[in-house]
Symmetry: C2
Subunit: 206 residues, 2 copies
DNA sequence: AATTGTGAACCTCTTCACAGCT
DNA sequence: AGCTGTGAAGAGGTTCACAATT
């Protein structure tokens, strides 16, 4: 499959949300121009992004909202259920367990791991926190496909090593460092402080 | 000031963390090649990023770690204290209050606002949750410079309207939609679900 | 008349490659 | 000899502009 840029994929996620909202308002069709306006991009960008995957619109008329939503959902794999494991049940891990957006999109949190003796055995939202020392067994048993790393920076590389050795191929990393992983493993980084620092830069240099 | 790309600014944040860690290990100098290796970029990229701001290295020798860390900190404005207000004390807002990385970088959370009657008046980490209906008064009183929006999508645009009308020029938005703000206001988006969806796309299409 | 789909033009960011310092 | 700093080349992403379609 042809390489599609990260930006295109991220924008598809945005369009998907927009279409979801419009569908809830019982609107039936929309133009690339309107999607663009709502999502803060250009209409050519919307059409180009979609064109990588097919031709979904009707010239002169625009796109059918429900159809386009389903198409983008399928492209992104949001028509499936994904089993997600969270490693590190601290502030961030805890917040994610309750994050409505995840479940809504088919991301089911099936496993919580921590290495803190005081947390292991406790329950959060009907899920028992298990020991990270048995990570590989649990990841396989729960058939986890995506791992969220929410441990301190000092522990993150080890966590990455363990989960990739268990065959995990997709990682969402909240630890503020660059993880080294084997080829074929996809790591996405989420670092809330980095965006704040970009704001700090902006305020400092504007 | 010449426009610097977001990617460059984000990478400077990464280099900064790397230098901070190296400094803690009492290493004194480093080459662009070594920074690149740690942060997963090319050495030319590191040198180019730095070159937008000045010449900080010594040919043949590399960079002094402490000096470079201070220089980047100054570029990013991390040598100052920033007053941050969090709007929406739900799961995410709550997690941010405790997020160590923030305080470490000079981001001081000074204000918590919510519009839920059951939360107003409660204390979280020595901070009282105030009513969003008095947002403007509180933002001014606490001299807030950066606002974090951690409310549901349906409420986010109104929150953005209120805080920008109070003169806030920097917003970190956790709500999964594109906010419309007046010119001169910088909005950075943080959407944990979008990165998960990129992983979903990868797993679906690899 | 309106709006898509897309090649071509454009622009921006990244990498190359090497002269210039230390 | 080793490594930086940077102009030039290259790659990749975005926007333009218009033919094609409804």
């Amino acid at each position: 499959m042809k390489k599609i840029s990260d930006s295109t994929i991220n924008r598809l996620s945005k369009y998907f949300r927009t279409l979801e909202r419009l569908k809830a308002k019982h609107i039936e069709t929309i133009s690339s121009d309107e999607i663009a306006e709502i999502d803060g991009v250009t209409s050519a960008q919307v059409r180009k992004d979609l064109s990588f995957f097919g031709t979904f619109g009707k010239r002169g008329l625009g796109y059918n909202i429900e159809d386009l939503k389903n198409i983008i959902g399928k492209i992104l794999g949001l028509n499936k259920q994904w089993n997600v494991g969270i490693i590190g049940v601290g502030n961030i891990g805890m917040a994610l367990i309750d994050y409505a957006e995840f479940k809504k999109r088919g991301f089911q949190i099936k496993l919580l791991l921590d290495s803190d003796e005081n947390k292991i055995g406790k329950h959060v939202k009907n899920l028992e926190i298990k020991s990270f020392s048995e990570a590989i067994t649990h990841l396989k048993k729960e058939n986890i496909q995506i791992v969220v790393i929410a441990v301190p920076a000092s522990a993150a590389q080890n966590v990455a090593d363990v989960v990739t050795s268990a065959g995990i191929g997709a990682v969402l990393n909240f630890a503020p460092l660059n993880l080294k992983t084997p080829d074929g493993v996809m790591v996405k980084n989420e670092n809330m402080s980095i965006e704040l620092e970009a704001l700090s830069y902006f305020l400092t240099n504007k």
